[in-house]
């Protein structure tokens, strides 16, 4: 390329756009990934399909433990996994801001490709648009994903029953705090890395081991509290968390104490919560712990009969209701 930043002409449909595609985007994603056709034609497996879409507008683009490219792949894969599906294909929509250094674009694309390869999914279609300086934040990405649902899998939060055990696949709240720390230059040393990762392998292991999973949720925006409240609303069960069992990394805990945040309100991007019948809880945990991304899996609570609320039971025996954050987490001021 003769220029080192994205220009509006790169989105104009002319020679410059062809050069961007041929010299930057397609090579980064693997020559065979995307054909020149308007639509990818794919051989569908038998049975039911899961489909999802998600847009990624994270700032900064690059952060400890990941970047927008990895996140765009993991986020959509995880949404498919929460339906009990094996992820197959992704689309990649790029909205680039004029002036974005091409090196940054190359880094993002390399991440997309690496993450897709690690997760065994293919990027089969894509689109690129360029917007004027000031009308974007470097790169916005949309990914849609299609996955194959395993025969006989019925994941449905309404199936949660009193007695079910709630599992967390690892430490909670890390991604939100990592981004906040990077964005606000909080200067935490060492930096807290995002947990951005695919959980598809862990979910597959759980289902293949024959655990009759009632519900799966990835606690992204709104954190574990938002995910648990959805599960509670859908099932009509009272969900009681054992406060002492909630896994939070020491550095995340420390940052939350400083900022006045609750780790349970902070997003994860490589974790999920599961509700399983009590008889299967031990088996589920040992299966999960055998998969690296879920090595830190623990039981965090239980579904009980009662009204649909989320409760944190403290070690002193006091029960405190847990409610959704208003919108964004606000730091406290003294």
């Amino acid at each position: 390329m003769t220029t080192d930043v994205v220009r509006l002409t790169h989105g104009g449909g002319g020679r410059m756009q062809a050069k961007l595609l041929d010299e930057v985007i397609l090579p980064a994603l693997g020559a065979r990934a995307l054909g020149a056709a308007d639509a990818a034609v794919l051989d569908a497996p038998g049975g039911r399909l899961a489909m999802t879409t998600d847009s990624f507008v994270v700032r900064p683009l690059f952060f400890p433990g990941g970047d927008i490219g990895r996140l765009a792949v993991h986020g959509t894969i995880n949404d498919l996994a929460m339906a009990g599906a094996r992820p197959l294909w992704l689309t990649l929509g790029l909205i680039l801001e004029e002036g974005l250094p091409l090196d940054d674009l190359r880094r993002v694309l390399a991440s997309v490709q690496a993450a897709a390869e690690e997760c065994g999914v293919r990027v089969v279609a894509g689109d690129t648009k360029v917007v004027e300086t000031g009308h974007g934040d470097g790169v916005y990405i949309n990914t849609s994903g299609v996955g194959a649902v395993r025969e006989g899998t019925r994941i449905d939060p309404a199936a949660i029953r009193p007695g079910d055990v709630l599992l967390a696949s690892g430490d909670l709240g890390r991604h939100g705090v990592a981004i906040l720390a990077a964005r606000e230059h909080l200067g935490l040393e060492p930096a807290i890395p995002s947990d951005s990762a695919s959980v598809a392998e862990a979910v597959a292991a759980l289902l293949e081991a024959g655990v009759p999973v009632h519900a799966l949720r990835d606690p992204t925006r709104g954190g574990a509290v938002a995910a648990l409240q959805e599960l509670s609303d859908a099932s009509g069960c009272r969900l009681v968390l054992d406060d002492a069992a909630i896994p939070v990394r020491e550095d995340v805990h420390g940052a939350c104490e400083i900022l006045g945040l609750d780790p349970l309100h902070s997003a994860c991007e490589g974790r999920f919560l599961a509700a399983v019948p009590a008889d299967y809880a031990d088996r589920a945990l040992s299966v999960l712990r055998s998969v690296p991304v879920a090595a830190g899996a623990v039981a965090i609570g239980r579904a009980e009969p009662g009204e649909a609320v989320v409760i944190r039971r403290l070690a002193t025996g006091v029960e405190r209701r847990v409610i959704l954050p208003a919108g964004e987490q606000l730091p406290r001021i003294c």
């Binding site: 420390g254 002193t316 405190r320 409610i323 606000l330 406290r332 003294c334």
Partner: protein
Amino acid sequence: MKHLDEYRDPALILRQVEAIRATCTRRWTLMEVCGGQTHAILRHGLDELLADAVELIHGPGCPVCVTPAETLDQAVLLTRRPEVMLCTFGDMLRVPGALGDLNAARAAGGEVRVMYSPLDAVALAREHPEREVVLLAVGFETTAPAAAIAVLQAEALGLANLLLLVSHSLVPPAMEALLADPDNRIQGFLAAGHVCTVEGAAAYHAIAERFRVPIVVTGFEPVDLLAGIHACVEQLERGAARVENRYDRAAPDDGNAAARAAVSRVFEPVEREWRGMGRLPASGLGLRPEYARFDAVARFGLVPPEAIGDGPCIAGQVLRGLGRPTDCPAFGRDCTPDTPLGAPMVSSEGACAAYLHYRGEA
């Protein structure tokens, strides 16, 4: 977590609760002054554990909550000037004034920056010499030193584009006003440990003596809070009324002289309005005449609109400890953290928000 877990140890908490109950021959009414303490009490359920021995009422120690609507309206007016970049703490964005809140002002095109330290405003003023950077400086004795240092830094750097909209408040005058109120029910105070890390405990001696009330400097973790409560009820049972420091691991009796020096160089005590409590003499900080050039109100000739009434909101009574959040007809119905009618529902340190958050009562 090290340096934290030992102050949240459940077995120790339960032992302390037992000791407090064994000390009390009657139920005492204590006020914790600081919103951070209110938050911790509700978060850890200390109110429930102690219910039959101690009534904890929640004081006006949430800086967001006591900031007058007038100041917020002045801030909103500032955001309507294209040259102004307003900086403040995140909690301030959702507090309603007569002109709406700062979130709405931001959505209307005003530039409002959330900062974590007043020194961030100095950095912004350096980066943006073409803009007027206004620091909405709120908080008690604990945040005033950082605001003072921001002014001193701006002075040293020769920055002419850093201005302050000052609404700092001082705790001891508010405690005196509460005790002088004929409706007062407070029998003992848990004084805010953080304030004492700056100010020391000296300011409290006169109050304890004049009003015959024990004042115990208290920390913010459950074990600290219970130690403060225990010391307070022990004094009450003995008929004592003195100042006691049960947070000396963080708050030395004489405070932080360097921080106080910075504050008194830049600011002086002034009368100010407390939301819900009215005008209290010498209860706020204003810029000294030699730093008047940093005053945003004077620079822009800000005249706030007439204040609005509080409607059904009983924030005033809550802030004086005369009513509980749950006494308010709007609590949890018309007034929620998403649609706050009063400041105590906004701030993470406000009593109403703490009740809704941890007890889920409506």
